[in-house]
């Protein structure tokens, strides 16, 4: 495969195949550092606080949240959509970018996918605990029962059940299938012992046989082909949660593609936030380079601008529709009591990513880190704006109301960060953060300098 010399190398420094193995295996070797323990402890504390908040919710009731008769969803569902959105980057990178033959994906897909899976787990928590009767949550499964009641296949929440669980399952499969060869590599690096046995079992007996590789590639491609529409479907269905209603601000046809775009946008931002720290923390700077940064930031501009256009489209069509409720909903977003949320959203999501039009900024790790956090915040507020400001003033002014979260809701949110980072810390300790085999496959064409060993 020929690669134009004009292209910027993706992997910096002098690399050989075994150097790649060594570099990526390095963070898993030896005893973890103090920083790792400190991070894990902090994450566990946050997780426990979240657990306690969930306990309070289940024991005392959803009344411990700031919701009310008008606003039935608040932080809980905002967080759900936010986490699901973040959970879109990994599969987007590994599936859609695979289909588009984007080589830079190889350095980041593994950790992005792991992040996806963890984020989807965090997300999946919210629809469960936002139920008034969590212990009866199993009602949402269509299982045969003595009352002959099935479920309501009209309900977008039910679609969510299928979409999120399918997405999680397929993402895990995809991720793990990609991991098998690399676990094999780790297995072969380890001295005999329990650890080796465990990795040996986890590697499913990987041999690196050419036949297996052929099937593996074929499977990966088709899985990517399946996962691509799946990624779209998940946030599409999440958007249906809102768009199928009649509530102004919720019911708008642009939601499906706009939500997907926003999801990828936020997902990429979160990947960037994490990768920029991780590459430093575990010395993978030569694998995640400015070239990666630039490519990812281009996707951030693209998706961020799509989101921005969607905002403006919504705003314009609300006026154009001539429907008073629609018009009011959008005026209220921008200038009502929650104006600040709207303008935070607008600033963080539409304006800040435009800075990436400047090459210097999109190639700067520091600037990207800051902007990625802005985007994360902005995308959280986007969901807050959609959910809360649409609900708090809908059709009948008599029911208009305000929403303020309680410590319990905040606690659960903090708890999901705890869960996220606990799992992420475990991941970076026990699994190769970069897809070793995939990087090797592009090493010759994309490394700054490839060293042939032996001979």
């Amino acid at each position: 495969m020929y690669v134009s010399p004009v292209r910027e190398p993706l992997i910096s420094g002098e690399k050989s195949y075994s150097k790649v193995t060594k570099d990526i295996y390095a963070p898993m070797e030896g005893k973890p550092g103090k920083l790792w323990y400190a991070g894990l402890t902090a994450a566990l504390i946050a997780l426990m606080f979240g657990g306690y908040s969930i306990f309070v919710t289940v024991w005392d009731g959803i009344g411990t949240w700031g919701l009310n008769r008008t606003i039935g969803w608040g932080w809980g569902i905002t967080n759900f959509v936010w986490w699901v959105g973040i959970g879109h980057a990994g599969t987007f990178i590994s599936a859609i970018l695979l289909l588009f033959r984007q080589k830079w994906r190889t350095s980041i897909n593994r950790s992005a996918e792991a992040m996806t899976i963890i984020a989807v787990m965090c997300a999946g928590l919210f629809p469960l605990i936002h139920m008034g009767r969590l212990p009866l949550g199993f009602f949402i499964f269509p299982y045969p029962n003595t009352r002959d009641v099935w479920v309501n296949f009209n309900s977008p929440l039910l679609w969510d059940v299928f979409a999120i669980s399918t997405y999680l399952t397929v993402s895990v499969l995809f991720w793990y299938m990609g991991l098998i060869p690399d676990i094999g590599t780790i297995r072969d690096k380890l001295v005999p012992g329990i650890k080796k046995k465990i990795y040996s079992a986890l590697s499913f007996g990987w041999t690196g046989s050419a036949r297996h590789w052929a099937r593996h590639e074929s499977m990966s491609l088709i899985l990517a082909g399946l996962a691509a529409p799946l990624v779209l479907s998940v946030h599409t269905i999440v958007s249906f949660d809102f768009a199928t209603s009649v509530i102004p601000g919720w019911h708008t046809t642009i939601f499906p593609p706009y939500f997907v775009s926003g999801a990828v946008f936020s997902g990429f931002a979160m990947v960037l936030t994490l990768m920029i720290i991780t590459r430093k923390a575990i010395n993978l700077e030569s694998y995640i380079t400015k070239a990666h940064l630039e490519s990812m930031n281009k996707i951030i501009i693209a998706t961020g601008s799509i989101v921005g256009i969607a905002y403006i489209t919504e705003l314009f069509i609300a006026w154009y529709s001539g429907v008073v409720y629609e018009q009011y909903a959008f005026v209220n977003r921008a200038f009502g009591p929650y104006w600040w949320a709207y303008w935070i959203m607008m600033t963080c999501n539409v304006i800040t990513p435009q800075l990436f039009w400047f090459k210097k900024i999109r190639r700067s790790f520091a600037a990207t880190f800051v902007i990625s956090i802005f985007v994360n915040i902005g995308m959280w507020f986007e969901r807050f704006v959609i959910i809360v400001t649409s609900l708090h003033r809908d059709f009948l002014p008599s029911s208009w109301s305000m929403y303020t979260p309680t410590w319990v809701e905040v606690g659960i949110y903090v708890g999901t960060f705890g869960l996220f980072f606990t799992l992420f810390f475990l991941f970076i300790r026990f699994f190769p953060v970069i897809a070793i085999a995939e990087v090797k496959s592009v090493l010759k064409t994309s490394a700054e300098k490839f060293i042939k060993k032996g001979k």
């Binding site: 134009s4 004009v6 691509a228 768009a243 939601f255 593609p257 256009i309 919504e314 154009y320 529709s321």
Partner: protein
């Protein structure tokens, strides 16, 4: 090494014949429908818009590959590039639409008690509408010309990386402008026909529709050119990629169609459902045919790997999709302007006429330059890559 295309007299004759036949049928059709001005104008709009949209879709195709740092597309880049040059011609037809605005757009003469339409007057009024139409055409023309010029310039200046960078920058400008105008033009020209109706997705839906049609047109022309003995360098991998585009974006189009339909179906709010009620009741067959042709046909044909790599299968699906999206536009335009399904000499004639003009424009521009941009920095990549099995 790469044979340049020659716009031979034979081809010209064929296209002129096509145009003449089209023109004759159009004239007959116009005379038959002199008291149905809205039908005549609907035809002008449909063909004027459809081919302009294909041209813009093709230009977008090039631009997005430039921005995406793509290499494979360079082998076929000149086809969509030449397609884009049709914009000013299509623009002239769109200017005809302005003349017949009153017959197409209900908002040009709202009922005095129609508060909703009256509320839209600041946006939907003949003057502003005309200004917007002209602006779209002029800006688009300038953009496609500029990009074409830079592409042609590369032929004479090898290793000019700065030119490549400039092209990329202009592509960025193109995409920003097109991101906005693609939606607004669709609202203006198509959505405002059903003057009361609105859908935030509509602009994107029409854009994807025209993008798919543009890919189909590229495939059709690639086939034609190969039959004429050009573009031999195009291999299975390129076809595979074009096939993936046709497949993928047909599915994406279907996704947007379903998104729009499902949401409106689900909420069942009259101000929105009226759009589909009209189409299901009065255009039932065509309405559902649209979905089947444009989704199921390419989906089933191109799902397998093999069909994507065979020119004939590709061609069949491309023709289906090309006709299918003509129908898509028909379903979007007819109910609001004509009110009932008509198909006759007028429709056939006008389509052939504009198609003839469109192809003439394409061949003329395609003949002006080498069939590939040999000095494109990623050009060689296009011949050393393959699709995973």
């Amino acid at each position: 090494m790469y044979k340049s295309f020659e716009f031979t007299q034979n081809i010209k004759k064929f296209l002129i014949a096509l145009m003449v036949i089209g023109a004759l049928l159009t004239v007959v059709g116009v005379f038959m429908n002199l008291d149905h001005m809205h039908r005549i104008m609907a035809n002008v709009l449909l063909n004027g818009f459809y081919f302009t949209a294909i041209a813009m879709g093709a230009a977008f195709f090039v631009v997005v590959h430039i921005l995406g740092e793509s290499g494979w597309h360079t082998a076929i880049q000149r086809i969509p590039e030449a397609l884009g040059q049709y914009i000013p011609v299509g623009g002239v037809i769109m200017l005809l639409v302005l003349l017949g605005m009153g017959d197409l757009y209900h908002w040009t003469h709202p009922d005095p008690d129609d508060t909703i339409l009256l509320g839209k007057v600041p946006f939907l009024n003949p003057v502003f509408f005309s200004i917007r139409t002209v602006v779209y055409i002029v800006v688009w023309t300038l953009l496609v010309r500029k990009l074409r010029k830079m592409s042609l310039a590369s032929d004479s200046s090898p290793d000019d990386i700065k030119l490549f960078t400039r092209t990329r920058n202009w592509s960025g400008i193109f995409i920003v402008i097109f991101a906005i105008t693609s939606s607004t033009s669709a609202w203006d020209w198509i959505m405002s026909i059903d003057s009361h109706w609105f859908s935030t997705l509509f602009g994107w839906y029409i854009f994807v529709s025209s993008f798919v049609a543009a890919v189909a047109m590229v495939i059709i022309l690639l086939f034609v050119l190969r039959r004429m003995g050009y573009m031999d360098h195009v291999n299975e991998e390129h076809m595979h990629d074009l096939g993936k585009y046709l497949f993928g974006f047909s599915v994406f189009w279907a996704y947007l169609w379903v998104s729009q339909y499902l949401l409106i179906w689900y909420s069942n709010i009259p101000e929105e459902t009226i759009y589909f009620v009209k189409r299901q009741e009065d255009f039932g067959m065509i309405f559902w045919a649209n979905v089947i042709i444009n989704f199921l046909a390419p989906f089933l044909i191109l799902m397998a790997r093999g069909t994507k790599r065979k020119m004939n299968w590709l061609l069949v699906s491309a023709i289906i999709v090309f006709v299918g999206h003509w129908i898509d536009m028909y379903v979007a335009i007819w109910p609001g302007s004509v009110g009932h399904a008509d198909f006759g000499l007028l429709e056939i004639g006008m389509t052939l006429l504009v198609l003839g003009v469109f192809l003439f424009s394409f061949f003329r521009h395609f003949a002006k330059a080498p069939v590939v941009p040999e000095n494109h920095p990623y050009f060689k990549e296009s011949f050393d890559y393959d699709n995973i099995r």
